[in-house]
Subunit: 204 residues, 2 copies
């Protein structure tokens, strides 16, 4: 039985919430049509009406992650209409801090991002979508680094693309460390490590 349109939207939201709960507690490995149905108290049959396969479910989960990452409070573009986004080196710093698991929502999102790498590496289409996401993030970082060079905050010697690739590597690896050892990598230490890294770039 096909549900009515209003029901359909409400149900999709309900499915999304259930997908998020499964992923943030048990990861992609546990993301099955059956697990999501159980989480919703629904039947697997109802769920297959929305997502015909596990791959469709995973693709939906990654879209959801993209959307939630954009929605959570970000230093780079404050959602509350706060102070205007910084520029140059301060903007680069803000963009990098936005990636780190510095608080609860940051940890929840990163737990799912890191978890998504296994399924993404197993599927050429998902891998390409992830590669495009990271390339897009590097373009933003490159822009920030080039601005910082123009402002004289970073030395002009190195290509901005290389500064961006290095900075992205640094924060991605810091995410992994902090996810596995949260007590050893509290927000203050993550921020201090990043600031030392940026000070090193500024010193040339």
């Amino acid at each position: 039985m096909t549900p009515a349109r209003g029901d359909h939207e409400a149900r999709r939201t309900e499915v999304s919430e259930a997908v998020w709960r499964v992923l943030s507690t048990r990861g992609f490995e546990a993301l099955t049509l059956r697990a999501v149905a159980a989480e919703m108290g629904a039947t697997t049959g109802l769920l297959t009406h929305y997502f015909p396969s596990k791959k469709a479910l995973v693709a939906h989960a990654l879209e959801l992650l993209d959307r939630r990452s954009l929605e959570r409070p970000r230093r780079l573009a404050p959602a509350d209409g706060g102070p205007p986004p910084p520029e140059g080196l301060a903007r680069l710093r803000a963009a990098l801090l936005d990636v780190l698991p510095l608080d609860g929502p940051g940890r929840a999102g990163n737990r799912i991002w890191v978890g998504s790498w296994d399924v993404a590496l197993a599927d050429p289409e998902l891998a390409e979508a992830h590669a495009a996401r990271y390339a897009r993030a590097r373009r933003l970082l490159t822009e920030c680094a080039a601005d910082a060079q123009r402002l004289g905050e970073l030395p002009a010697g190195r290509p901005a693309e290389e500064l961006a690739a290095g900075a992205q590597a640094f924060v991605l690896g810091l995410v992994v460390q902090a996810m596995f050892a949260p007590a050893e990598f509290p927000a203050e230490r993550q921020t201090a490590l990043l600031d030392t890294y940026l000070a090193g770039l500024a010193a040339g």
Copy 2:
């Protein structure tokens, strides 16, 4: 029917090979007793004799990964009895290069490491084992960094632990980038990025 001891060992090796093939092509998400049995041309029943559950299979896979990581040619401790391992900054560089996906075996191992993060984050025991692995690696890097400071190759200002944590973040993130965008991050670029990072540390 319980197999004889010699058979048992041979069969375990066969199972390990099948686990490795499943993981390196399809990841942890696809690691099921059924998939490994199919890969071996055996029955699921036979496999459960060796691994009673998926968790046992995953734990075995991670041990296998540890062993293979130690076995593959490493700059830090050449298996062929080549030149003695370097010391100080050169040793730090060798240890960091050993982590990167610079060649086929490096890519295969890293594909599995990165893939293991999803299941590891979902299970406290596996997460703790992973945290211990990274902490052990950081201790080695700390030792190298302290030696480099003693030799005057790195400035004495920063604690060696912080140099090690930063360097580990840098290579882990570089692994992720290179796994998703191998064409953009060939071995030469990975090495150049690492060398620039180390030069920055040396300059203080």
